[in-house]
C-alpha cells in the first residue's frame, strides 16, 4: 500500500496500484506529525506538568472534603433528633460526599488524561492486521479434528452415538422439573381456577383501609369515593397471603345520584345501594390500582396506562388500553345498616389471563 506522504502537495495522481487505484486520488498516507506546543517549548511542557500536578492536588482536597463530610457530620440520626434537621443534615452530608469524591476522582482522571495528551508522545503508530486465520493452519486444524473424531470411533459405532444423544437430551430434564415448586400451590390448588375467587362473600362488610371500620351508606356523600377492603382480610395472618388476597379484593366505592346511572344490565338491578356502587380497583389491563375518580364525569382513571372507565355505564372502557370493564361488586346493607357484599365478584378480577375464558 502506498504510504508516501507528499508533504505540501495538493494531489498526487499516479497510475492506480492496489485498491486505492479505484479512487480519485491515491492514498496520501498518514498526514505528517505536527508537534504540539509542549513538544517544542520546554516552558509549555513545564506548564502542562504544573497543570497535571494541580489536578492531582485538587483530587487530594476532594478526598479531604469527603472525610469532612463523613466524620464531621457523623451519624445524623444520633445527633439530630428532629426530622427537619435530620433531612437537612443528610442532604448536606450527601452533597459533601458526592462533591468530595467527584473532585477526588475527576482530579486523578483529568490529570492523567491531560498528562497523556500533552506530555506523552502523540505519534500515531501503524500496525498491520493479522489475517484472522492462515489457510495452512486451518488445514492442519481440520486434519487434527478429523483424527480426533476418528479416534473416538463414533462414526463406526452408531449405537454409541444414538444412545449418547438420547441420554444427553433427557439428562437436563431434572434441572427443569425441579423448578416446579417455585409455585407453592399443590394438587388441585395448582390451577388458574384460584384466580376466579376473592375473599368477598355474601354478608362480608366493606371496611375502611387500614382502620377496618365498617361503613354506613350515610358516610358517603354524593360525589365522594373511597377505597375499601373486605372485613375478613384482616383475619389472614400470613403477610404474603394477605397481600395476595388484597391484590384481588381491593374495591373502589363511590356514590352518585341514582338517576346518573345510564345503564343497568339485567340481573344487576339490586347491585347498588342508593346510588352507592362498588367495583374492583384492579385494572383489567395489567392490574394497576385504578386510583383516580373524577366526580363530574363519573370517570375512573388508571394512572399507569390511562385506561378510563365510566362508573355510570357499569365501568365500561371509554379510553385507553383496557379490554374489559372493571368487575362490579354487588352490594347492599346488613341489619345494622353497614355496607356488605351480596356475593363474591361474579367474574375474575384483574388482568386477562389465558384460562379466564367466558368467566
Amino acid at each position: 500500500m502506498a504510504e508516501h506522504g507528499n508533504g505540501e502537495s495538493g494531489a498526487v495522481v499516479t497510475a492506480g496500484e492496489g485498491e486505492s487505484g479505484t479512487y480519485a486520488i491515491d492514498s496520501p498516507g498518514l498526514p505528517p506529525h505536527r508537534p504540539r506546543l509542549s513538544d517544542v517549548d520546554e516552558k509549555a511542557a513545564k506548564r502542562s506538568e504544573r497543570q497535571v500536578a494541580t489536578l492531582f492536588i485538587i483530587s487530594i482536597i476532594g478526598t479531604i472534603v469527603f472525610m469532612v463530610g463523613y466524620f464531621a457530620i457523623g451519624r445524623t440520626s444520633e445527633e439530630f433528633g428532629e426530622y427537619f434537621d435530620h433531612m437537612q443534615w443528610l442532604r448536606i452530608q450527601n452533597t459533601l460526599l458526592g462533591v468530595g469524591s467527584a473532585f477526588a476522582m475527576l482530579g486523578i482522571g483529568l490529570g492523567v488524561v491531560h498528562w497523556a495528551k500533552t506530555l506523552m508522545p502523540d505519534h500515531e503508530i501503524v500496525e498491520p492486521r493479522k489475517p484472522l486465520r492462515a489457510e495452512a493452519e486451518r488445514a492442519e486444524a481440520a486434519q487434527m479434528m478429523g483424527e480426533i473424531v476418528e479416534e473416538t470411533q463414533i462414526k463406526r459405532r452408531p449405537l454409541l452415538r444414538n444412545t449418547l444423544i438420547a441420554a444427553a437430551l433427557l439428562a437436563p430434564l431434572p434441572a427443569v422439573v425441579m423448578f416446579r415448586d417455585l409455585d407453592r400451590a399443590y394438587g388441585e390448588e395448582f390451577s388458574p381456577e384460584r384466580m376466579r375467587h376473592t375473599i368477598w362473600d355474601e354478608g362480608v362488610r366493606l371496611v375502611r383501609d387500614p382502620t377496618g371500620t365498617p361503613i354506613r351508606a350515610s358516610d358517603l356523600t354524593v360525589g365522594s369515593a373511597m377505597h375499601v377492603i373486605p372485613e375478613n382480610l384482616r383475619e389472614i395472618s400470613s403477610h404474603g397471603e394477605r397481600l395476595s388476597e388484597k391484590a384481588k379484593a381491593v374495591v373502589l366505592l363511590m356514590r352518585m345520584n341514582p338517576e346518573d346511572f345510564e345503564h343497568t344490565s339485567p340481573g344487576r338491578e339490586d347491585w347498588t345501594y342508593q346510588g352507592i356502587i362498588a367495583c374492583s380497583k384492579v385494572c383489567t389491563h395489567v392490574g394497576c390500582p385504578v386510583a383516580l375518580y373524577e366526580r363530574h364525569t363519573h370517570h375512573l382513571l388508571c394512572p399507569c396506562h390511562q385506561s378510563t372507565f365510566d362508573a355510570a355505564q357499569e365501568f365500561k372502557v371509554v379510553f385507553g388500553p383496557a379490554g374489559r370493564p372493571l368487575p362490579q361488586l354487588p352490594i347492599t346493607v346488613d341489619d345494622e345498616g353497614f355496607l356488605v357484599a351480596r356475593s363474591d365478584f361474579t367474574e375474575p378480577v384483574g388482568p386477562t389471563y389465558w384460562e379466564r375464558g367466558n368467566a
Binding site: V13, E19, A24, L30, L90, G98, A102, G240, K248, E355
Partner: protein
C-alpha cells in the same frame, strides 16, 4: 501440533534460570514472569495499537459504569436484606416510624438514613445503572451507524445485543428490590403482561411470584437474579466481548493512512492506557457528582408496597420507557369493538388479551431485528467481505435511514411512556397526545427514513462538491473584466482522501441459483437490494477529478499557488510519477 515437531535445546530451558535481574522491580517482574508468563502479555499488549476517536468512548463508559455499579452494589448488599418478613420501622425517618413493612424496605431505608454514605452509594448505584444502559445504547448506535457490526464482527454484535438485554434485566430486577409502592406497581405490570401470554403466561406468573401476585417470595428471588445470575452472565459476556475485540482488533474511521489491512492509533502503553485509565476516574467522578447533587428514587416517599395505592405521574427508569409507552399507546377498543376476545373451547374458552399482546410484537420485532441485522444487511447487499474501515454514516444512506426510522419508532414509544407528564407540563390533552401518537408511531418512522436518506445523499453531494471545487472561502473577488466570483479553497490531499475513498455499489439484479432458476426469495432480495442502492451518489472518479482540476485551474486562478501546484502535478502524474 508445533510442540510435537519442534525441539528445544537444553540451553533454551536453562535460560530462564540463568537470567539474573538487577533491580528490585526486575526481580519481582522476573518472579511473576517465570510463573505466569508476563513476557507474553507485555509483548502482545504493551504496544498494541488502538485507534482513537471520541465515539469509541461510549463502550468504555458502559464498561466503567458497569464496574462502578458492581462495586457500589456490593457495598449495598452488606446492609440490604431482601427478606419479606414483616417488621415495624423504627429508623430515623420520622414519617414512617411505627409503620409495618417488609425487612427489604426497612433495610433500604436504613441504608438511606442510618448508614453514613449509604444514600450516596444507593444513588451512585442507581445513576450508574442508568448510565450503564445509556452508554450501551449509544455505543450500539455508534456501532450500527458506522457499520462496525459487519464481517468479521457479527457475533460480537450479538454478544452486545445480549448485554443490552441483560442490562435491562439487571436494571428492572434491581428497581423492584426495595419493595415500595412505586416498584411494586412495576412488578404488577410485569405480572399483568406475563398473564397475557397465551397458554403458559398464567403459570409463568405463578412460578415467578410463588403463587398468586404478589405473595412474599418474589423479592428474594429477584435478589438472586439481580446480584448473582444476571451480573454473572454480564461479566462472562463482557469477557467474551473484549476477547473478540482483541481478536479482531478495533475498527477505525476511514482517513489518510488508514486501510483495511492496518490499524492506526496510539499504543496501549503508555498513551492509550493512561487515557483509558484516566477516563475511568472521569466517569466515576461525574457519577459521584450526580449522585451527590441529584436525588434519585426517593423511596421513603412511596411507602411500603401495598397492592391498592399508586402514584399519578409515576415513571419507570428511562430504559423501561418504551415498554411502558407502547402499552399506553395501544387502544383496548376500536370504537365499539373490543380487541380482546375469547376463543370458544369445550372447557369454557381461552382469553386472548390482545391489547397487551399486540404491543409486545413491535418490541419483539425490534429486538429480534437488532440481533439479526448483520445477516439481514449482508444478505441484501451480498457483501461477504471483511470490513475494518468504518462507514461514514452518510456513505451508507439506507442503513442510516433504517437506523433513524428505528430510533424514531423507539422514541415515540419512549415519549408515550411519559405521556401523562407531557400532558401536565405542556398543558395538553392526554387523550390527544395518545391519539396523535397512534398515528405517529406508523408515520414517524417513514418520515424519518425518507428525511435521513435525503440528508445522507445531500451530504454526499456536498462532499463531491468540496472534492471537485473546494471549500467556499467566503471571499468574493472582482476580476478585471468586472465579473464576481467566490474564491474556493481546495482541500488538502488528506481531507480529499477521506471524501473520495468510499464505495457506492450499484444495485445488483436477481441472480439465478445453481439450477439456473431465479427463486421468489431471490427476487425479493433483489428488490431489497434495489431499495438499498438505487439512490446513490458515486464517489468522485479519477477522470472527474482531473477535469475539475483543469477547470479550477482556468477559472480559479486566484486560488493561487496551491491550484497551480496541483495543476503541475497533474501533468507530472500523467507521466507516471511515483
Amino acid at each position: 501440533m508445533s510442540a510435537a515437531d519442534k525441539n528445544y535445546t537444553e540451553a533454551q530451558y536453562l535460560e530462564a534460570d540463568q537470567y539474573q535481574p538487577r533491580t528490585r522491580t526486575g526481580r519481582i517482574a522476573n518472579y511473576v514472569d517465570q510463573r505466569v508468563g508476563g513476557t507474553g502479555i507485555v509483548r502482545e499488549f504493551g504496544r498494541k495499537v488502538f485507534p482513537d476517536h471520541w465515539s469509541f468512548m461510549f463502550g468504555e463508559v458502559a464498561l466503567y459504569s458497569f464496574i462502578i455499579v458492581v462495586l457500589s452494589g456490593a457495598f449495598l448488599t452488606f446492609w440490604f436484606d431482601p427478606s419479606m418478613a414483616t417488621t415495624r420501622y423504627s429508623g430515623s425517618y420520622a414519617p414512617l416510624q411505627g409503620v409495618d413493612m417488609s425487612t427489604a424496605y426497612a433495610t433500604a431505608l436504613e441504608l438511606s438514613f442510618d448508614v453514613r454514605g449509604g444514600l450516596f452509594m444507593r444513588q451512585l448505584h442507581h445513576w450508574g445503572a442508568l448510565l450503564f444502559i445509556l452508554a450501551m445504547s449509544v455505543h450500539m448506535l455508534r456501532v450500527f451507524f458506522t457499520g462496525a457490526f459487519r464481517k468479521p464482527r457479527e457475533l460480537n454484535w450479538v454478544v452486545g445485543c445480549a448485554l443490552l438485554i441483560l442490562g435491562l434485566g439487571a436494571g428492572f430486577t434491581g428497581y423492584s428490590l426495595p419493595d415500595e409502592v412505586l416498584s411494586g406497581n412495576g412488578l404488577r405490570i410485569i405480572d399483568g403482561m406475563m398473564k397475557a401470554i397465551p397458554v403458559v403466561g398464567t403459570y409463568l406468573s405463578f412460578f415467578l411470584f410463588g403463587g398468586e401476585f404478589p405473595g412474599d417470595e418474589v423479592i428474594p428471588r429477584l435478589y438472586t437474579l439481580h446480584i448473582f445470575i444476571i451480573p454473572g452472565m454480564i461479566l462472562i459476556l463482557i469477557a467474551i466481548h473484549l476477547f473478540m475485540v482483541v481478536v479482531h482488533k478495533h475498527t477505525q474511521y476511514p482517513g489518510p493512512g488508514r486501510t483495511e489491512r492496518n490499524v492506526v492509533g496510539y499504543p496501549v502503553g503508555p498513551v492509550y492506557a493512561a487515557k483509558a485509565g484516566g477516563f475511568f476516574f472521569i466517569v466515576l467522578g461525574i457519577l459521584c457528582l450526580i449522585s451527590g447533587t441529584f436525588q434519585i428514587n426517593a423511596l421513603w416517599n412511596y411507602g411500603p408496597y401495598d397492592p391498592s395505592p399508586v402514584q399519578a405521574g409515576a415513571q419507570p427508569d428511562w430504559y423501561i420507557g418504551p415498554f411502558e409507552g407502547v402499552l399506553r399507546l395501544m387502544p383496548g377498543w376500536l370504537g365499539p369493538i373490543p380487541l380482546e376476545f375469547v376463543i370458544p373451547t369445550p372447557w369454557g374458552g381461552n382469553s386472548v388479551a390482545t391489547p397487551v399482546l399486540v404491543p409486545m410484537i413491535p418490541i419483539a420485532v425490534m429486538f429480534l431485528g437488532m440481533f439479526i441485522w448483520p445477516w439481514i444487511e449482508a444478505w441484501i447487499t451480498g457483501d461477504k467481505k471483511e470490513h475494518h474501515l468504518l462507514d461514514r454514516p452518510r456513505n451508507a444512506p439506507t442503513r442510516t435511514a433504517v437506523g433513524a426510522a428505528t430510533v424514531t419508532f423507539y422514541c415515540i414509544m419512549w415519549g408515550m411512556g411519559s405521556n401523562d407528564l407531557i400532558a401536565t407540563h405542556f398543558q395538553l390533552s392526554l387523550n390527544d397526545i395518545t391519539y396523535w401518537s397512534r398515528v405517529l408511531i406508523f408515520v414517524g418512522p417513514v418520515i424519518a427514513y425518507i428525511l435521513t436518506k435525503r440528508i445522507c445523499l445531500a451530504l454526499q453531494r456536498k462532499d463531491r462538491e468540496i472534492a471537485l471545487h473546494g471549500h467556499e472561502a467566503g471571499i468574493i473577488e472582482v476580476s478585471p473584466d468586472g465579473g464576481f466570483h467566490e474564491r474556493h479553497k481546495l482541500p488538502s490531499e488528506y481531507e480529499l482522501w477521506t471524501l473520495v475513498s468510499y464505495e457506492a455499489p450499484a444495485p445488483s439484479g436477481p441472480r439465478p441459483n445453481a439450477k439456473g432458476k431465479v427463486t421468489r426469495v431471490e427476487k425479493f432480495r433483489a428488490a431489497l437490494n434495489r431499495m438499498f442502492f438505487e439512490d446513490r451518489v458515486e464517489p468522485v472518479s479519477r477522470q472527474e477529478y482531473l477535469e475539475a482540476l483543469e477547470h479550477n485551474g482556468h477559472h480559479d486562478g486566484a486560488t493561487g499557488l496551491e491550484a497551480a501546484q496541483s495543476q503541475e502535478q497533474i501533468t507530472a502524474g500523467h507521466s507516471g510519477r511515483h
